[in-house]
């Protein structure tokens, strides 16, 4: 990374200025040339073996096979008489023992979920409906796969990514996963084994007992709620705990479990309800750990086996290394950094194999791995370059993780992402900065090996050292979208405020990290003992921190209020008609709260049942072994063995469109009385005179086409568009945000209980639901048209409506008390030239801090580099809000003619990092 100025020029400049009594601090960040530290890593490229492995990933198809599910299901059937937790543990244990290990030449970090470089597998025990519905289709597809065309094989087969359609002997499932046609009958057979028995089916059978179930069904059909919780992604959006194997190793853990089992066998110890369950749990841990040990040893054996087939001395050395490492970590506490990071890879993989999950975050592993890093470096056992290589390998391995979740979820909400969130920064229990040298290298690996996982977050605190902050800002500038920036203090405020009901202290609150993309999740401090030295590390200790009520569409509820509970799009009367005249804003707001409450209520109850079925029949055991305090208490997740159990929440979407709609209605109908509510209804029903988005098959706002005669809505549309908008530091809009949040976070959410008897809280990030739920929503009173996407995140302004610059947006976003919400999400686009060079990095860091300091949770950036600008050239309509800032001059990209666009692109590339 070099600025335009070379060293000799810098020197000349410094001399001239020094003569005039002006230090370089005016310009180059306070460092005169003699003191400028030559960058240690000026080349942002990954190590050669990593580059090869990442290239391979890019050319690997998302694959699935039936091996793991087969063994799971066969063993599950064999032990049908057993206590459920043991039955499941045994099934998992055998599956791990028997599944085929795969090591790719060149890897140093190993372990795969399925026998592919990039694989996953279905879990019909959660939901088999998709396969049942598609059975005939899948069968037919597999039969059609008789002959294979060489062309197909070489073109599609050689490529990577999703298997969007069948080819050769590969059948496409859900347009994403490829399965060998020979295995399709086995897939269907296993699915059928779970017919009416899966968590989905059983959950559905029981949730119908909820009196308001019919309402829930209608809410799902009309997309007021995005998807179910209990069987889709029952785990994830939480922070891992790697503590126990890292501290004890598996042999010692087994020994401890056996001792504990002996202690509790037959004893209730005062707990007449679940005291006896501890015996079954410990025995389950034992049998499962034994299976896991065999799995790890299979990898060691595989390395040795592959060594026989190659002459390449480097590969032979690699395989020896892998063999020795896996042989050790199958039994003992990791002794070196390499063994520790391998252990992390091992544990992360096995956790992912137990359930359909997304958002299983590694957490603060720079702090978790620090003991080994520090000691290896001090003893000269490893160099920073070797550490960097391992961190890059870890990035590629994590990117290879696929998730095979319920059909509606994978392509929709997740868009294929698995959200393994790695957090850096934060503080220790004494409030001191927890950032360390290893975390610096982790960020650097994120720059040399940019790839989707693990995604990075920084828990920024006032005490985080400035050079570390600037390193993270440099990483943000690369344009991968990470790290996301979180306010450490706000995170602590939320965590402590919410979990103090469960006895959390301030010290403990400081150990938190981010689960999934933005789900602040609590943890605890644990002590690692390594060679006589003690280190305190954080360990995730909570249930999944985004389950319960998934994504309520706020604007859609407003639509229900306006239309007496009726959804025009599906012709369904969703809510009981309120029949109120809505003569004042207060009346409208009361009905809104009522409909919203009914929505939360029915969804909460139904999802509680789904989760209850899950915890009774499909409880997680692996995480229960590894998360505090399960081993201490002898209880798995279902029996509230985790330290923090009040993690269920309500996710919302489209907040800003709702706020803007309230502002428009309040102004135009109630204050100025320019229009009646009927006028608004009429305009919305007629989409402000435009065709519906699905009639013209485009969901982009700029493409919407006006109907003949639509002009009569011009005036009202214009008035709605010009009504006060959030993001401009305008109290006339922002007051509705404050009103909403006060009710949503402090009144609504805490009034509902999860199945664990603990209150809910709010979660306000949209993932990608703002597109899907936008599709199902009519036009809104803020002037937005039918079917078009909502404002993203939760605090981003609706595109094009924030007119007064970033600071006005920040002001609007911090008008409400964010500490009662698990998160808020602000996505911002920024042009690389505005943050160019060393000064630019500082400006970016200050911009971020200025926002987070004011009581905001989060901000992340899309740095619009030349790649983005090229895309914007091809699809200008999707980039209408893209701004170009060059030397104090701002212009919308879409307003610049192509020649000048080319100029800006060229300039950006030339001057890019």
């Amino acid at each position: 990374m070099t600025t335009n100025l070379d060293k000799s020029k810098k020197q000349k400049l410094a001399d001239i200025l020094a003569e005039k009594g002006i230090g370089m601090s005016f310009q180059y960040g306070g460092k005169a040339p003699e003191e400028v530290v030559e960058r240690e890593f000026t080349d942002l490229k990954p190590h050669p073996r990593v580059e090869k492995l990442y290239d391979l990933y890019l050319n690997t198809l998302s694959s699935t096979c039936m091996e793991f599910p087969y063994w799971y299901n066969r063993t599950y059937a064999e032990y049908e008489y057993e206590i459920p937790v043991y039955r499941r543990a045994k099934a998992l244990s055998v599956a791990f023992e028997r599944t085929t290990p795969v090591i790719i030449p060149g890897e140093l970090l190993v372990f795969c979920k399925a026998p592919f470089y990039r694989g996953s597998f279905p879990m019909p025990q959660l939901s088999e409906a998709f396969f049942m519905a598609k059975e005939d289709e899948l069968f037919k597809e597999s039969l059609d796969r008789g002959g294979s065309s060489a062309g197909e094989l070489s073109s599609i087969g050689a490529g990577g990514g999703n298997v969007t359609k069948s080819f050769g002997k590969v059948v496409s499932i859900a347009g994403k996963f490829g399965i060998r046609s020979e295995e399709v009958p086995a897939l269907c057979r296993i699915a059928r084994q779970w017919y009416k028995k899966s968590v989905d089916d059983l959950g559905n059978r029981w949730e119908r007992k909820v009196p308001s179930y019919k309402l829930k069904e209608k809410i799902m059909r009309t997309m007021i709620c995005m998807f179910d919780s209990g069987y889709t992604l029952p785990q994830g959006r939480e922070v891992m705990s790697y503590y126990y194997p890292l501290e004890y190793g598996f042999d010692k853990l087994l020994e401890m479990c056996k001792e504990l089992r002996d202690e509790v066998a037959g004893n209730a110890d005062g707990d007449g309800i679940i005291g006896m369950d501890r015996l079954y749990f410990y025995e389950s841990c034992i049998v499962l750990m034994e299976g896991i040990q065999k799995w790890i040893e299979n990898y060691a054996a595989e390395a040795l086996r592959l060594k026989e087939y190659t002459d390449d001395p480097q590969l032979k050395a690699d395989y020896d290394k892998i063999h020795d490492c896996c042989s050790w970590i199958a039994h003992g506490q990791p002794r070196t950094f390499y063994e520790a990071i391998q252990m992390i890879q091992c544990m992360h993989t096995i956790v992912l194999n137990e359930d359909a999950l997304s958002g299983m975050s590694p957490g603060r592993i720079g702090q978790v791995l620090y003991p080994w890093f520090e000691q290896d470096m001090a003893a000269g056992r490893i160099t920073e370059d070797e550490v960097l290589e391992l961190l890059e390998l870890q990035r590629v391995k994590f990117t290879c993780f696929d998730v095979f979740a319920s059909f509606g979820v994978v392509g929709g909400v997740l868009s294929g992402n698995t959200f393994n969130n790695l957090a850096v920064g934060g503080v220790n229990r004494f409030g001191e900065s927890a950032a360390n040298r290893l975390e610096y290298l982790i960020i650097h690996a994120g720059m040399t090996q940019p790839c989707p996982q693990p995604t990075l977050s920084i828990l920024w605190d006032e005490r985080t050292p400035e050079d570390f902050v600037l390193k993270c800002a440099e990483c943000t500038k690369i344009g991968t979208g990470y790290p996301a920036w979180f306010s450490n203090r706000m995170g602590i405020e939320f965590i402590w405020n919410h979990y103090q009901k469960e006895g959390m202290t301030l010290d403990e609150a400081r150990s938190y990290a981010i689960g999934g993309c933005l789900e602040t999740a609590p943890a605890v401090w644990k002590t690692i003992h390594l060679n006589g030295k003690e280190y305190e590390i954080p360990a995730g200790a909570s249930q999944p921190a985004a389950v319960g009520v998934h994504f309520i569409s706020n604007p859609k509820i407003l639509e229900m209020v306006l239309f007496n509970g009726y959804d025009q799009r599906t012709d369904i009367q969703v809510f009981e008609p309120h029949n109120k005249k809505l003569e004042t804003f207060e009346e409208l707001w009361e009905v809104y709260k009522d409909y919203y409450s009914q929505t939360i209520d029915t969804l909460c109850r139904c999802n509680n049942i789904q989760h209850d079925i899950w915890r009774k029949n499909n409880m997680c055991i692996i995480q229960s072994m590894f998360k505090p305090d399960c081993l201490e208490r002898g209880h798995h997740i279902g029996n509230m063995g985790y330290r923090w159990n009040g993690t269920y929440n309500i996710e919302s979407c489209g907040t800003i469109n709702m706020v803007n709609a309230f502002a428009a209605i309040d102004k135009l109908v109630y204050r100025e009385k320019k229009y009646t509510l009927d006028d608004i209804r009429d305009a919305i029903s007629n989409n402000f005179g435009f065709y519906k988005a699905d009639e013209i098959n485009s969901f982009s706002l700029a493409e919407q086409v006006r109907k003949e005669g639509g002009e009569k809505y011009d005036k009202i549309h214009s008035d709605c568009l010009n009504a006060p908008k959030y993001g401009n530091d305008d109290p006339e809009a922002d007051k509705f945000l404050v009103m909403w949040e006060k009710w949503f976070t402090r009144v609504a959410a805490p009034s509902y209980e999860s199945l664990f008897g603990l209150p809910l809280y709010t979660c306000q990030n949209s993932v990608s639901t703002h597109a899907s739920q936008g599709r199902a929503c009519l036009a809104t009173a803020d002037g937005r048209l039918y079917g078009t996407t909502f404002a993203d995140g939760s605090m981003s302004a609706y595109p094009g409506t924030d007119r007064n610059g970033p600071y006005a947006l920040f002001k609007s976003a911090t008008t409400w008390d964010q500490s009662w919400s698990q998160n808020s999400q602000m996505n911002m686009k920024i042009h690389p030239l505005a943050i160019k060079g060393e000064n630019g990095t500082k400006h970016l860091a200050e911009l971020i801090k200025s926002y987070l300091r004011r009581g905001a949770h989060h901000i992340q950036f899309n740095v619009c580099d030349s790649k983005v600008m090229r895309k914007a050239q091809e699809n200008p309509d999707q980039y209408r809000d893209l701004l170009v800032r060059v030397a104090g001059f701002t212009q919308y990209w879409v307003e610049i003619g192509k020649p000048v666009q080319d100029e800006v692109i060229a300039r950006t590339e030339y001057e890019s990092i």
Binding site: S62, E78, P105, G168, K169, I179, E182, Y309
Partner: protein
């Protein structure tokens, strides 16, 4: 007809291809293997496996006495695997 993924020296990458452990080169699964082919234990070549139709059959080699299985399942770590004579 044998394919690459039936061979011991095949390193699985995805559902269409993999690497040959000998050469470290990419091979497409559904192409004829080379003379160094060595059969990978799979149900379809196990004497405890009794094929039926649709690439599935019955396994009698494990303590549960009898359970359905499928041709292509890899049996390297199966305690009941016994190669066909």
């Amino acid at each position: 007809m044998e394919k690459h993924s039936d061979c011991k020296h095949f390193i699985s990458v995805d559902c269409a291809k993999g690497l040959c452990a000998w050469t470290n080169q990419m091979v497409v699964i559904d192409t004829p293997p080379c003379p160094r082919f060595e059969a990978l234990p799979k149900c379809k070549i196990c004497s405890n496996y009794h094929p039926d139709k649709d690439n599935m059959g019955t396994c009698t080699g494990l303590p549960d006495k009898s359970f359905w299985a499928y041709d292509e399942m890899i049996a390297r770590n199966c305690p009941g695997f016994k190669a066909n004579a």
